[in-house]
């Protein structure tokens, strides 16, 4: 179960790319695992490492000095496009990422992130540009993310508000998951099934 999200403060890692797909976040050859552990080493693998396992020169931003331990990414539009692999948020959270700011996320990635305590925050383009500008001027600027207030506190003391699905917010704040909620609906599900016979029987011999 995911760790509840409370208020947290972190410096930011900017990734100036649009349409970053989940094949970049975790290349497919790392999908042969049968658990969720150890995916931090797969994160952005082919942007970070050469074939022999050494870091690229210059290193990808994640591996530059001072980046380890940061919890917030600022990324380009449509982050998480492509494959539905939940290994992408698993790798991000296992590296330490807790929130991602963008002008937009791909649907499945956004959904997967919310189920893993990873907060996708959508900001309008002008706010995104302002955030990028703040980091340009001070790469070590701190942002504070307050989920319950739905705000990002900037270094100048001002706050940027963001929208989030109220149900997802409730789940994240409580650190609970959707399966628990669905299991609480079992009597409704049984009632629905009683009036909706299955359309197929996969076990029938074909």
């Amino acid at each position: 179960m995911a760790q509840p999200i409370v208020v947290f403060t972190s410096k930011v890692i900017p990734i100036d790319k649009e349409n970053v797909d989940t094949d970049q976040i975790v290349p497919a050859r790392y999908l042969k695992v049968t658990d969720k552990d150890g995916l931090a080493e797969a994160l952005f693998r082919d942007w970070r490492f050469e074939e022999d396992g050494s870091l690229t020169d210059p290193p990808f931003i994640l591996d530059r000095p001072g980046m380890a331990g940061r919890n917030i990414l600022l990324v380009g539009h449509n982050f998480g496009a492509g494959s539905s692999r939940e290994h992408a948020p698993w790798a991000l959270t296992s590296w330490g990422v807790r929130a991602i700011l963008s002008t937009g996320f791909a649907d499945i990635f956004r959904s997967n992130s919310l189920k893993n305590g990873l907060l996708p925050i959508v900001v309008p383009p002008d706010v995104h540009a302002r955030l990028r500008d703040i980091i340009d001027r001070d790469p070590d600027a701190d942002l504070t993310i307050d989920l319950s207030e739905q705000g990002v506190l900037l270094p100048d003391g001002s706050t940027v508000e963001f929208d989030i699905d109220p149900f997802a917010k409730r789940m994240l704040l409580a650190g609970t998951d959707e399966l628990g909620y669905l299991l609480s609906k079992q009597s409704d599900i049984a009632a629905w099934e009683a009036t909706h016979p299955p359309r197929i029987e996969t076990r029938a011999s074909a």
């Binding site: 349409n19 797909d21 695992v33 380009g76 939940e86 669905l182 409704d188 299955p198 074909a206």
Partner: protein, 479 residues
């Protein structure tokens, strides 16, 4: 008088179990497809919580993503992949889920076998831990990819929490010219709206050109909805749909069939129903399409030139294009025709069905793959493989010098050892040209089976319309 509804509304309304105020709907799932790569952690979750699979009879599994496409008699060399497969086998046995695994005559890519077995039917909700689940929308089903957490939820409850999606009408008017195919329609759409254009929406493909397509062509289009950012894309069912489904192993039979068809005929979008977004594409004006860059939205008509970053006014788009051309090692303004090709891949859930193989074989008949080019043909399922062998297509491929493989996802996702070497160029009938998608450092041009086969023969990117007898080639069909 009720409000006119879209097909998405109708399927949605039919499947809402309950919805609390402020919460997403609890949506019932008719069919859950499972494969080896995105399910192990979900089954582990069930075990940790002491849960069972609620509806094993509405769940079906196969192994496709990480399996080798070398002869089945050979052992799996990749221990990690082998462990994943054996875990799937154990999970299916423990939880009572039917498995069409390696060695089964009904094994295949999950999005090929669902329709083939008649499990995919109009009006259903269908999910799978795979983004190309949108394929099944071709039958007028609401079908979309989910993550592993959601796989666990569906296993445990046969439901999902979902918000009602927005709808996006994609109208394709007119008629396709010979040599232009379903793949070209979807690549043209994505080139126009971009890879994020459909985010938050379900595409409904409509119009004369869509109606004229066979089911397999419709699957090619719906398959790539996700590449346009839409989690699902669908086509209202019609007689073409019913004809395809009829008589398949899991299709309704006898009186049930008539009742089902009567129900399915109610599904198409009502006249006057509103869409949240709309776009029109003129099929008459379409050319064969090909991608030049590192996402499926970077596509051009095959006779065009590679775009130039200096023509991009938006700085982010310019940067992205510069980066893509650098990765692809292509020059701004160069023609894409004539670009050298090292590998051609025919297969995948996009274009690995029998009609795709018939097209590729028609283009390769009595010809040879160009020197220095490797052509890999991977049937989408074991049944497709047997049919291709029965029809003599496999012999055509082999005579042309192609590598005729066992079924699986193969070089589309390149996690089974079928992959490009760094720097190689491939024309691929698959769905993604992301960096490294077909092997680290590999460079992918997405195109139709006809374009792929023509390029294999010539050794360079080739317009299939230049093939002799293209009219008769393009008429090679399927269901």
């Amino acid at each position: 008088m009720t409000e006119p509804r879209t097909i998405v509304d109708k399927i949605w309304d039919d499947h809402v179990v309950v919805q609390d105020p402020g919460a997403p709907a609890v949506l019932a799932v008719d069919l859950h497809l499972v494969h080896e790569v995105t399910s192990p952690q979900a089954f582990s979750g069930l075990r940790e919580r002491g849960l069972t699979v609620r509806r094993p009879g509405q769940t079906v599994a196969t192994a496709d993503h990480s399996i080798p496409t070398t002869p089945r008699s050979l052992p799996m060399l990749d221990a990690q992949a082998a462990a994943q497969i054996s875990q799937l086998e154990r999970n299916c046995a423990d939880f009572g889920i039917p498995l069409h695994g390696i060695g089964s005559p009904s094994q295949g890519i999950v999005h090929v076998i669902g329709p083939q077995l008649g499990l995919t039917q109009p009006g259903m909700t269908i999910v799978c831990g795979d983004s190309h689940t949108s394929t099944h929308g071709a039958f007028g089903a609401l079908a979309f990819g989910i993550g592993t957490s959601e796989v666990e939820m569906v296993l445990a409850t046969q439901t999902l929490l979902q918000r009602h999606p927005n709808t996006y009408e994609v109208r394709v008017d007119g008629r396709l010219a010979p040599g232009v195919s379903a793949k070209d329609i979807i690549l043209a759409l994505i080139a126009r709206i971009g890879v994020g254009g459909g985010t938050g929406h379900v595409f409904e493909y409509r119009g004369e050109a869509i109606r004229a397509l066979t089911m397999e062509q419709r699957m090619t289009i719906c398959n790539m909805s996700i590449e346009g950012g839409a989690r699902a894309g669908l086509i209202a069912p019609d007689d073409t749909t019913f004809e395809y489904v009829h008589g398949r192993p899991h299709a309704p039979a006898d009186a049930d069939w008539d009742a089902a068809v009567a129900r399915w005929r109610q599904l198409p979008t009502d006249d006057g129903a509103a869409f949240d977004k709309s776009i029109t594409i003129d099929a008459n004006a379409l050319e064969p399409m090909i991608t030049y860059g590192t996402n499926p939205g970077m596509g051009i008509p095959i006779t065009s030139r590679v775009p130039s970053p200096t023509d991009e006014s938006d700085p982010a788009a310019r940067r992205a294009l510069e980066h893509a051309l650098s990765y692809m090692d292509l020059q701004p303004g160069q023609p894409i025709l004539g670009q050298k090709v090292d590998v051609v891949f025919v297969g995948s859930c996009t274009n690995g069905r029998i009609s795709d193989l018939r097209l590729a074989a028609a283009a390769l008949k009595d010809r040879r793959v160009a020197d220095g080019v490797q052509l890999m043909v991977t049937p989408g399922s074991d049944e497709v493989k047997r049919e291709a062998e029965r029809e003599g297509l496999a012999d055509i491929f082999k005579a042309a010098g192609a590598d005729w493989r066992e079924s699986g996802c193969s070089m589309c996702i390149a996690m089974n050892g079928d992959q490009l070497s760094p720097g190689q160029y491939a024309v691929s009938t698959s769905n993604r040209n992301f960096e490294g998608r077909q092997g680290k450092g590999g460079r992918t041009f997405l195109a139709s089976p006809l374009t792929a086969a023509a390029s294999a023969v010539m050794g360079v990117v080739t317009d299939p319309r230049t093939l002799p007898g293209i009219e008769s080639l393009a008429a090679v069909g399927g269901r």
